[in-house]
């Protein structure tokens, strides 16, 4: 009988702990709704954010609600595919190797952000040549 | 035998027990036995191995139902009773000392003795009290918290007896209780049972051990052979 009593006492104790955890979650959830949620909504509204920043490997995981309807296989190199093909075919090294990315561009030059004057002063960056240069290094057939 | 007016505790009427009825390996263990058990007597059922002693004891003790025939405990017909009612009669009337003891080896002596009391309405202090008395009368106090599998054969035997006595039965049924005991322990066991009998408990032995058969407390002998009674003696 003492064993039964011990069990019942411990069981009740467990339930009380569980119950207070549930109570705590309710409290926290209400607190979040009251304190954090309005701010989060304001932020999402200010920046027009429409998706959770949970998975960054592909568009359909980073922006599930915005992704193309048809193409599951998207946006490598971040995402080696989950689907069977992805375990066999990996993204081209051209896409992932830092050296080839820099080499394919404007020679690793730095520019200052934004300053429109500077930008216009370097028209070649946005000219078709640049596109062509990048294009040819990734093996595209046509260049203007 | 006491006054004829007193009705027998158990009456067995033309009982048979057939195992695997209708199958090719059918065994007719009891083949038409009638007998009674009277209050206060010490009855010995004697017979060679395989003669049907244990089968007859289980029928008397309401542990199995006969294939045919009637068993009456007091004035209640066993065949008419539900399982629950039968179980409670068994619990209240009979204490069994099994041929192979049937203790649960990894329970303590105390828990083993308490087994028959768990499914009763008895309060816990009452239970403890009963168990204490039974354990003390068997002089296994010092082993009460030991596991039943770890005590000596004689202590196990006494634990089994304590368990049979804990519900204060009117009839104690002992199936070959001395089969595994040396003569010293047998003598001790018979002394214990003799004392119980003096206190009014009815005892039924099944045995072919002359030490039991020739013991002075025995008041009646039935000899069973091939499932029928071949000889009755009352000294």
């Amino acid at each position: 009988m003492s064993r039964a009593r011990t069990f019942i006492v411990l069981g009740t104790l467990g339930l009380v702990v569980l119950g207070s955890l549930v109570g705590w979650t309710r409290y926290e959830s209400r607190r979040w709704k009251r304190d954090d949620l309005p701010q989060l909504r304001a932020l999402s509204s200010r920046l027009h954010l429409s998706d959770l920043a949970l998975w960054t490997e592909a568009r359909y995981t980073r922006h599930p609600s915005q992704a193309d309807l048809f193409s599951a296989f998207q946006d490598s190199p971040g995402a080696p595919e989950h689907f069977p093909a992805g375990s066999i075919v990996s993204p081209s090294p051209v896409l992932t190797d830092p050296l080839s990315i820099v080499a394919s561009g404007s020679g690793g030059r730095l520019r200052d952000a934004g300053s429109d004057g500077r930008r216009r002063a370097m028209p070649e960056e946005r000219s078709p040549d640049v596109v062509a240069a990048r294009g040819s290094s990734s093996g595209w057939a046509f260049t203007p | 035998m006491t006054a004829a007016a007193e009705s027998p505790l158990v009456r067995v009427e033309d009982v048979t027990k057939i195992y695997h009825l209708g199958a090719p390996d059918e065994v007719r263990a009891v083949r038409g036995i009638s007998m009674t058990v009277s209050r206060g007597e010490v009855l010995v059922i004697e017979g060679p191995s395989g003669s049907g002693k244990t089968s007859l004891l289980t029928i008397i003790g309401c542990m199995s139902r006969p294939t045919s025939g009637q068993v009456l405990v007091g004035d209640r017909r066993v065949s008419r009773l539900s399982e629950t009612a039968l179980t409670s009669i068994r619990r209240e009337t009979f204490g069994f000392i099994f041929q192979h003891l049937h203790l649960i080896p990894d329970l303590t002596v105390k828990d083993n003795v308490m087994l028959p009391l768990f499914p009763t309405r008895m309060t816990v202090p009452e239970m403890e009290d009963r168990v204490d008395r039974a354990i003390r009368s068997m002089r296994i106090d010092h082993r009460r918290s030991a596991r039943a599998g770890r005590i000596s054969g004689g202590e196990q035997q006494r634990t089994a007896i304590a368990r049979a006595l804990v519900n204060e039965p009117t009839i104690v049924i002992a199936d070959e209780p001395t089969a595994h005991l040396d003569s010293e322990l047998s003598a001790e066991l018979l002394d214990i049972l003799a004392e119980l009998n003096r206190a009014g408990t009815t005892i039924i032995f099944a045995t072919h051990d002359p030490r039991v058969i020739e013991h002075p407390i025995v008041s009646r002998r039935l000899v069973v052979r091939d499932g029928i009674i071949v000889e009755k003696t009352s000294p």
Binding site: V22, W32, S50, L54, L110, A113, G114 | M63
Partner: protein
């Protein structure tokens, strides 16, 4: 009542005989419950968070589709849409991705349109000049950058660009902003290489929620190559997404689950000769069938409810207090920038009930059922050694 308690007492005595075995079962069982409950708690709370959060998202997003893929849309389209009745405003969104080969992470670039620069949950402010940026916690950690520091990103023309960090997003917003680099809208367009006059898509504010679908239909009619995404579709997406993820996690653990089922099955059905003998002894000393089954039921209840309670407590602490550290590796998949999870505690009582029911009932059944046959046989079977 007293009888039931006494039988429970005996059940405990009976379980105590094999403490190692029974605690091992409880441990495995509680672990299984904890894993399943963790997955459910986590996905449920993220799902709920998303549902609550995106009430602030644009009512309508309008994309342009070409060849089944999302392409930049003419900003001019926004003017037409803004003229529709009930439309409060349209704003082009400039967003996209850049892959940082050094950290091997994909970063989301987001243009901040006109509006206040200081806002809650941003330490510092949002960028107002093209050389400025505000970054999410994940990016900040990756670059070791803070307010006043700098980040270098490679733009669409593969030129490295330097940005001053003027703001970082605070922790409660991680789930929205972890991988963001926010720039001014113009700079984002430039950085992402969007052609003049084009935006990634258009965010449309609609005054009346009931009108959203009508407006979406109108947009579709006016611009057949557009794809309007309503807010309710966003919410629906989040409902669906987690089924897939949690399904995968559960699949990983189903191995463990199956092992446990086998263990339970073996334990419960393989009523050993010893256990059968024990039931016979109980019956022989005066227990009836009901008592024996009650004993077995208590044994099942003790094991399964102990495991259930321990498992649920573990899962709650794991997910809500510790931030699900054991599930994160599985959830993060290939993501390099994965937000630290601090899911808002939320437990649906119905879910608790469902887990409890699915844990206790099958186990008790699996314990009681196999004893049935032994419990109904006459005790005389046991009498012969």
């Amino acid at each position: 009542m007293r009888r039931h308690l006494k039988i429970l007492d005996f059940a405990l005595a009976s379980l105590q005989r094999r403490p190692f075995k029974n605690w091992a079962i409880i441990a495995v069982y509680a672990f299984t419950v904890a894993v399943v409950a963790s997955v459910l708690f986590l996905t449920q709370s993220i799902r709920r968070e998303a549902a609550q959060l995106f009430v602030g998202a644009p009512e309508l997003t309008v994309q342009r589709m070409v060849g089944g893929r999302h392409v930049p849309i003419d900003i001019g389209v926004g003017e037409t849409i803004a003229a529709f009745p009930s439309v409060v405003g349209v704003e082009p969104r400039f967003w996209g991705y850049t892959y940082d080969a050094v950290t091997e992470s994909t970063i989301t670039i987001m243009g901040a349109g006109p509006g206040m620069a200081t806002i809650d949950l941003v330490e510092g402010r949002l960028p107002t000049r093209p050389t400025e940026s505000a970054i999410g916690a994940g990016v900040a950690a990756m670059w070791g950058a803070e307010v006043g520091g700098e980040v270098i990103l490679v733009d669409a023309a593969t030129t490295g660009v330097l940005y001053e960090v003027v703001g970082t997003f605070e922790s409660p917003s991680d789930i929205l902003t972890n991988d963001l680099v926010v720039m001014t809208a113009e700079e984002a367009a430039l950085f992402l290489g969007l052609p003049e006059g084009k935006a990634t898509d258009l965010a449309v504010r609609v005054a009346n929620d009931n009108e959203i679908d009508t407006i979406a239909a109108k947009v579709k009619r006016a611009f057949p190559d557009s794809r309007p995404i309503t807010r309710s579709e966003v919410l629906r997406t989040y409902d669906a997404v987690f089924h897939w993820r949690s399904g995968m996690m559960l699949a990983v653990f189903s191995g463990g689950l199956i092992a446990f089922v086998i263990l339970a099955w073996d334990k419960a059905t393989g009523l050993s000769a010893e256990e059968r003998r024990e039931i016979g002894i109980l019956k022989a000393v005066g227990w009836d069938t009901g008592d024996v089954l009650e004993l077995k039921m208590w044994e099942g209840v003790v094991i399964s409810s102990t495991s259930l309670i321990l498992g649920l407590i573990t899962a709650m602490v794991h997910v809500f207090v510790l931030g699900a550290p054991l599930l994160t590796p599985m959830l993060r998949g290939w993501s390099v920038l994965f937000p630290e999870l601090h899911p808002t505690p939320h437990v649906d009582p119905y879910l608790l009930f469902a887990i409890g029911f699915l844990t206790v009932v099958p186990y008790v059944a699996a314990t009681v059922a196999p004893s049935w046959k032994a419990a109904v046989t006459d005790p005389d079977e046991v009498v012969r050694g």
